[in-house]
Amino acid sequence: MIDWPWMADHLDELAFRLVQHFFLAAIAVGVGFVISLAAATWVARRRRLRGLLVGTSSVLYTIPSLALFAALVPVTGLSVLTAEIPLVLYTLLIFVRNFLAGLDSVAPEVLEAADAMGYSPRGRLVRVELPLALPLIVGGLRLASVSTIGLVTVSGILGDRFGGLGFFIFEGYRRVFATEIWFGGIPAILLAVAVDLVLLRVQRRLTPWAASEAVATGRQAAGAS
């Protein structure tokens, strides 16, 4: 049932798709991180905007991934933007929620002490609030990375230029060729699990005092699919 010689012949293509997968995911996570960080710090002390941001991002998060990719096809065609926009949108809820929770976790006394020491609002944010929010920020990074790696496979619906490892799943199905489906599917799962474990390590190393918070963020469950 498994065609080993075919696999051996396509290792270079596997490497290419793996790199593509990594970049499609990394761009989305990077862009999502920056947008969310800016948005979260901006709305953190503005209650109405905050509700609006969390509400909008959770509605987006509820929409099935295939629908979000498909929705952009009539607008941006079969382009990189059509692949990246949904990936970025799905990271928003995870990041925004974790950033806000992180900022909320900073005790008011600490903020007051920072103000009393003469920090500017910006200095306080960078030197006091963000470092203290780090456990939840890294937790968000981990959830978002893993969920994005899974979603990159779905971008294969946009054609052969996309999908990363998901390309093999789509092509394998078209050709009714089990080996090729597994050739993409199994590495895609291994990649997601490996990144999850690596970032868990990073999370624990960066924040050895925060084992309980790490569990708390892991509990938020449910990556979009």
Partner: protein
Amino acid sequence: MNLVEATIAWLADPAHWSGVSGIPARMLEHVALSGAALLIAAGIAIPIGVWIGHTGRGVALAANVANVGRALPSLAVIGIVLPITAAIDPQAGFKLYPTLVAMVILAIPPILVNTQTGVGGVDAEVVEAARAMGMWPGQVVGRVELPLAMPAIAAGLRSAAVQVIATATLGAIFGGGGLGRFLVEGIAQQDDGMIFGGVVLVAGLALAVEGAFVLGEASLRSPGLRDAAVRGAAARAA
């Protein structure tokens, strides 16, 4: 013709509302498949979660299973299962089972973790009091721990339901039924009206189900849950 007009025209066309590939039939397929997957997953995850939460045994194992489960890319899971079920059952093996299996696998982690943390998070003093009142272990679970864990379990079911509906959509890529078909066929035929009509239906279903769960959770909350500390524990578990 612009996008909005195309979408309305597609949705309003009576031809799209009848037959085995019409909107009602596809909607029914989607809901039935999702409901079946959710029931199966709940049937597996809730008893295990209750047992782990009640006994405190296997907590780390459950957390690991849930973490790995959460990391699984749904499309890859469907793809991997597909050739296996197709070999076992060439008739339905291609269309139904791969998606169903993937949906169940992906729905288990959120239900399991929430059940376990909900049941395990019940105040030890409350459990102690129940025992002191002469309840046997089954009653402690059924009358005290489960009702108190209900909001957490419901929240787990809600994340699982959203996940399952999204995964059912992906099943259409592999020839499965459900609303995802409109997306896949719309992209293939470059029919913008069909794509957007499908998007409206799929997103509408997902949001409606999420909304229904939110409303349902409110009514599931035990009247005994007035104590702020208990409510707090339930919210943390969710």
